[in-house]
Symmetry: C2
Subunit: 249 residues, 2 copies
DNA sequence: ATCGTCAAATGGTTTGACCTTTTTTGTGCT
DNA sequence: AGCACAAAAAAGGTCAAACCATTTGACGAT
């Protein structure tokens, strides 16, 4: 807080020298995100980039490695292989978020809260914007889910898909990607639990049916409320097994 | 769906050869996320890794580049420099999300919806869990904000900080990171708008004051409702400037 | 004490070669 | 003509051995 505890005020910001591969990565990223290059377009070959930029192949490759992790390019081996522009997808986001969750030791409770924050609004949007195709997809998954009620692992996998299908129907790619990113972690944290009984799985199917009815009817408020209840039921189960019938609306 | 439309069943999964730098990156990532290495710990030097793994320096560096983008390490130049373990932070997440938003052409509406989904729950959590330090920080930022009401740019910057401080008080690092990640994009999309008038900035300060009162009182429901109204006001403004007094609760 | 100079340790960069994978092209046998 | 197999070509993947640049510590001169 004192003004004179240091010899002199800064006055000059910290000077940081950009590394060459960073400069190249930045420029390429810029070009890709600007839309100058469409998805699927091919970048120059590594050796081309070398001669265009004057950098060494190693530096070029380090730049490409960065963009690859960022989900902006994919590389293909062999003749007619090369560097292909792509858009960051849900998987890239999920990879990142998963590491965030593991690295920062995000608690199961926090994951559960995130679900509770994301899913009800997504259900409302789904009800308001769903297309016939979305409904189709939801019905299919719901049937599959009902059929897999005996197999815990498979049930969990399809369940995730169903929730993500609701999110996709909401037409908000960002929120859908957030949900997609945590859904795997959530499943890992919950599927192992011993409370995952057959009756509960039947109850889940029932809850889904009711939520889908609201989405089909275009009733955003009902979809929100039912989804809220549905996801909150999981939280209750995580805490206290005995209140398992909370799953039923 | 047919069973015989292809000449022969797969029977053998696709064989994919891992690249050497990927293997190394995976192993290092594993080690870091396992918690074997604490944050701030130093990895072996590049040349050490070369001799330990038998890979070339180039491959080692490509692996490190991946981890760096993932926010798992930082590299420092010079003597006593080296490779330092870090945890993926909000900035790494924000970098990624920003690219996702730009690359996927996420609409302003979607960003706004994301805010509306995230902020009210975070405000409730803040009310329920805030520490004295959190309140202190919020009060400071609120004062700063009131002082900067004449400077649009600065006001916008502090405003972002305030919202993120609320999120931080909610003690859910994941949701807070989500909000942090979009707050810059949201600001960019809105600050430029012509509706950003002096009166509105005063109204914002007022809304913040009321939200803070709820947080301080530990009233989660009120904090949720007030934050909801506050963020929805932005949306209304984005659409129709005339209803600007919606900002006031 | 302060300033310069040098040495050491580390990441950053270059060069140039060779390996591996994938596709295309050619060629020779049937 | 057509097929099979070999060879070439084009791309990314890998290696090796330097050298450059930055930062810090040590030491000495002022």
């Amino acid at each position: 807080m004192s003004d004179t505890e240091r010899g002199s005020e800064p006055m000059l910001g910290r000077i940081s020298v950009q590394k060459s591969y960073e400069v190249l990565a930045d420029r390429l990223r810029q070009t890709i995100l600007d839309g100058t290059l469409e998805e699927g377009a091919r970048l120059p070959t590594e050796r081309e980039l070398v001669s265009q930029t004057g950098l060494s192949r190693g530096s070029v490759r380090e730049a490409l490695r960065k963009l690859e992790v960022e989900g902006l390019i994919k590389t293909k081996l062999g003749r007619l292989g090369g560097i292909i522009v792509s858009r960051p997808g849900n998987d890239a986001m999920a990879h990142f978020v998963t590491q965030f969750v593991r690295g920062r030791r995000i608690s199961i409770r926090s994951l559960q809260e995130a679900r509770e924050a994301l899913e009800p609004p997504l259900a409302r949007m789904a009800a308001e914007r769903r297309t016939e195709g979305d409904l189709q997809r939801l019905r299919e998954l719901s049937e599959e889910l009902a059929g897999a009620v005996a197999d815990r692992e498979q049930f969990a996998a399809i369940n995730i898909d169903w929730h993500n299908a609701v999110a996709a129907a909401g037409s908000n790619d960002l929120l859908a990607a957030f949900l997609y990113s945590i859904s795997y972690d959530v499943a890992v944290s919950t599927v192992v639990e011993e409370y995952d009984t057959l009756e509960l799985r039947h109850a889940v199917v029932g809850a889904h049916t009711r939520i889908m009815a609201a989405i089909e009817a275009g009733d955003g408020t009902a979809a929100y409320r039912r989804m809220e209840r549905h996801v909150k039921a999981s939280r209750a189960l995580t805490k206290a097994r005995e209140e398992s019938d909370l799953l039923i609306e």
